[in-house]
């Protein structure tokens, strides 16, 4: 059994995790922590090592080096006891072809210790899933819904979600987001792996970005944004040359607009104060500044890969 967790024991704690498949190094010293009640985003492109990490956490794969603990317990040795406290949704759900969706949900929740019927019914309705269809006739999105309903219906302390919305339409994604927020409100910890940035941005408190098996960035969304740029749009009447040449300003575009010039540019967040002072001298008519999206963050981390590929 895992040691009795205190309130500060992380739900997920990974240190220096490594795993190779033959010559391929899937994980190379990964660190990742999910504190209790936290929704942690786990971002990376396909093949970065997200699913391998999750499979190690679930005690399916054995790590070559490093430690992985759930609620303080050893993920390999204490797998069964730990699994009583978590629910897992794989990225590509495969169901038993001759079972109906409803049967699969019942089986999964019963093995996890049971779920209350009313909640299951509510989830079925919200996700618009017909539980009487045989699994072999479900589309990918519907199989995904089966796994989501089964995971959300059982009361788990930790949700491990591996690209859980793949195949879902935007409406269903919104329902999913709502349930993750609800889970968070109930104090459930969530590890949400994804390559869809907006999904992570909507619900996550912290983000770990993984690339080639290593965490290249991790922290709260706010702290990560601090490293990055904001997009600014302003309409001014003065001469914008000073802004264009200011340190930290990138990709400035000036176009004529009603009563002056419309400027759009990106600015390093560390330099934003200085740039605002410069703008103030130009008679600002309107100003909007948007925090960087994760898309931007992501492109920065993988941008060089894209360029390298293009070459």
């Amino acid at each position: 059994m895992p040691s009795t967790p205190s309130s500060s024991t992380p739900a997920v704690e990974i240190r220096g995790l490594s795993k190779s498949f033959g010559p391929v190094r899937a994980l190379d010293g990964l660190d990742l922590t999910v504190r209790p009640g936290e929704v942690a985003g786990f971002l990376g492109p396909n093949g970065a090592g997200k699913s391998t990490t999750i499979r190690i956490l679930l005690g399916l794969l054995r790590a070559d080096a490093g430690t992985a603990r759930l609620f303080g317990g050893d993920v390999w040795r204490d797998a069964v006891a730990l699994h009583r406290r978590l629910a897992y949704v794989p990225g590509d759900v495969s169901l038993w072809p001759n079972l109906t969706g409803g049967e699969a949900i019942d089986l999964l929740t019963r093995l996890r210790g049971g779920a209350d019927k009313a909640r299951t019914a509510e989830l079925l309705e919200r996700f618009e899933l017909d539980p009487t269809k045989k699994a072999r006739t479900y589309s990918k999105g519907n199989r995904q819904k089966v796994a989501l309903v089964a995971a959300l219906a059982s009361r788990a302390d930790l949700l491990v979600l591996d690209e859980p919305t793949s195949g879902l339409d935007p409406l269903m994604e919104a329902v999913f987001t709502e349930y993750v927020r609800q889970a968070k409100a109930e104090g459930v910890s969530v590890l949400l792996s994804s390559h869809i940035l907006s999904e992570v941005e909507k619900v996550c408190d912290t983000v770990t970005i993984i690339r080639n098996g290593v965490a290249v960035e991790s922290g709260t969304l706010d702290s990560l944004r601090h490293l990055t740029r904001s997009s600014v749009t302003a309409v001014v009447t003065g001469d914008p040359t000073a802004v264009a040449s200011a340190e930290g300003v990138h990709d400035l575009v000036a176009t004529p607009a009603d009563g002056g010039t419309r400027l759009t540019f990106d600015v390093d967040d560390a330099r934003i104060g200085a740039v605002l002072r410069l703008l103030g001298e130009l008679e600002v008519h309107s100003l909007s500044a948007a925090p960087p999206s994760l898309e931007d963050l992501f492109m920065r981390h993988y941008g060089d890969v894209v360029e390298a590929d293009a070459r």
Binding site: R55, L58, G59, L60, L61, R62, A79, V80, A81, H83, R84, L86, Y88, P90, D92, V93, S94, L95, W96, N98, L99, T100, G102, E103, A104, I105, D106, L107, L108, R110, L111, R112, G113, D130, P131, T132, K133, K134, R136, T137, A147, V160
Partner: protein, 537 residues
């Protein structure tokens, strides 16, 4: 059907032939080998006409009628007559299964997987995939007909006209089933359903012909309702008539017209019948890995049991009243047969051979059931289970329990009990305990095979195909081991060799204990291995 709806057919035929070149070659090659084997075996076991007449006597029994043919030429049972009477049924069945699976695979299965959507989006007509699949099957069947005719003429030294006729008839009968598959693919939405319908049609055809031929020597009116009879009734090598082949041609045309009219009536991807909805909630019993494994495998086991029962009850009738004499005459006149059956009580040696066969089939079931674990893992469902509070031991034990209990059940009930039932039906005074006791002697050997399957799955999942080689060897060595004069070291590869040819040989405790211990060790190794390896691997 205009030319437009057939656009791209030629290209598709080439694609299908290329895609399935190995598959079709293996099917055709195996069926040809079966002919070769049969010709060689007949030549060495039945050297004189007298010896062949003893076989003809055996062909009068009901079980033989069902498993062979209408019995033309029994009065003068030449090699050709034997082939036409006994082999045609199996050749048609083999070719029919090949043809139906080829049709389903290239039409409905493609539609289901969504690949056909890509193809149909190109310059390909509505009927082109179905027509191309059928043409592919026609080509395969023509190739088989030509090669088998040449084989019969050259290796079997048989009449030219009859050889070509029986080969053509066989292929045409198989094509009737291919056309049935075309229709089935229009009716159901899923490839499994279409395959099931096709196989059911084949099973019905076998049954109808069997019952018809039992009613009357050389077949009653009922027989003529089966496409299989249309080749058997050609009386090849006895008194050839070719017109029954026309029935096959007519049936193919009718079925294709039906298929085409159904096809233009349905939407792409849809069938004429939908899939019935199932239960919204699981039964209260479905709450463990074992219940799930049983649920996954019970239908398969049911069909295996049905097949086993039919086969071994029928075989058991050989053990009925008067069979002793037939076997004795046979053995007296034919030393080779005598050697195959061994010395001692003939009924017992025949029982032993049937039990070995039953054991090999039960092992085949058991291995395929145990290897379901591999499929579950490959499809990602094992992962889903192991992410629940389900230990690896519990999950693997569930899979293996179904395999072990299923195989044991088939051996004891589907083989031993069924043989007893057949013998009693045929009027023998058989003792049930004798049969069950003999059957039980094969269970430890069976468990060794299953233990090996489990251990290989746990330690070296890629090596599992080796199990099928082992099972094939067990069949061949059990049947012909003494005939082939193989050394004990080789015969000993088969676990059944260690327990002996029960009930011909007396049951000995020591080998059974050793086999059981080996099985336990193999299962223990399987659990130890599965606990430490990566899933999926």
């Amino acid at each position: 059907m205009t030319a437009d709806t057939l656009a791209g057919t030629g290209r598709l035929v080439r694609f299908m032939l290329r895609r399935d070149r190995v598959r079709l070659s293996v099917w055709i090659g195996s069926l040809l080998l079966l002919y070769v084997y049969f010709i060689v075996a007949l030549g060495s076991l039945y050297r004189t006409q007298e010896e062949r007449q003893t076989r003809a006597a055996l062909m009068e029994t009901p079980a033989s009628v069902i498993m062979a043919g209408p019995g033309y030429g029994l009065d003068n049972y030449t090699t050709g007559a034997i082939l036409a009477n006994e082999m045609v049924l199996w050749m048609i069945a083999g070719l029919a299964i090949m043809s139906m699976s080829e049709v389903v695979r290239n039409t409905r299965a493609e539609e289901e997987s969504g690949r056909a959507e890509l193809v149909r989006a190109g310059a390909v007509g509505r009927h082109a995939p179905a027509v191309a699949a059928l043409l592919t099957v026609v080509i395969a069947n023509v190739v088989f007909a030509l090669l088998s005719a040449l084989l019969l003429i050259l290796a079997g030294d048989l009449a030219v006209a009859d050889s070509f006729a029986v080969a053509a008839g066989t292929s045409l009968s198989a094509l009737v089933f291919a056309a049935v598959a075309v229709v089935a693919c229009q009716v159901t939405e899923h490839s499994r359903g279409a395959s099931g319908l096709g196989l059911a049609a084949l099973g019905l055809a076998v049954l109808v012909r069997g019952i018809g031929d039992l009613q009357e020597r050389h077949g009653s009116t009922l027989s003529w309702f089966s496409p299989i009879a249309w080749t058997q009734q050609m009386r090849s090598y006895v008194d050839l008539r070719t017109w029954p082949m026309a029935l096959s041609v007519g049936a193919v045309v009718l079925l294709l017209v039906l298929g085409a009219s159904l096809a233009s009536r349905r939407d792409f991807g849809a069938g004429l019948t939908g899939v019935a909805p199932g239960r919204a909630e699981a039964s209260p019993l479905l709450r463990s890995p074992l219940a799930l494994a049983w649920r996954q495998q019970r239908t398969g086991l049911f069909w295996w049991f049905g097949g086993f029962s039919a086969m071994f009850v029928a075989s058991g009738t050989y053990l009925g009243d008067g069979i002793e004499q037939t076997l004795e005459t046979m053995a007296e006149q034919n030393p080779a047969v005598f050697e195959m059956f061994g010395t001692g009580d003939l009924a017992d040696s025949f029982t032993a051979i049937l039990l070995v066969f039953g054991g090999v089939f039960a092992a085949g079931y058991g291995v395929s059931a145990a290897l379901r674990a591999k499929t579950e893992e490959a499809e990602g469902r094992t992962e889903v289970m192991l992410a629940l509070p389900v230990s690896r031991t519990r999950w693997l034990a569930a899979q293996l329990t179904v395999a072990v209990l299923g195989a044991t059940f088939l051996m004891m009930v589907g083989v031993a009990f069924a043989l007893w039932r057949g013998a009693v039906t045929a009027g023998a005074e058989a003792d049930l305990g004798h049969f069950l006791g003999a059957g039980a002697a094969y269970v430890p050997g069976l468990l060794v095979v299953l233990g090996l399957a489990a251990a290989l799955y746990a330690w070296a999942p890629r090596a599992t195909p080796v199990l099928w080689a082992l099972i094939a060897f067990m069949g061949v060595s059990g049947m012909f081991g003494s005939l082939l004069d193989l050394p004990d070291a080789v015969l000993g590869i088969s676990p059944f060799w260690w327990s002996g040819m029960v009930p011909l040989e007396k049951v000995e405790a020591a080998p059974l204990v050793v086999l059981s211990a080996l099985a336990v060790a193999l299962f223990a190794a399987a659990f130890a291995g599965f606990r430490r390896r990566d899933v999926p691997r």
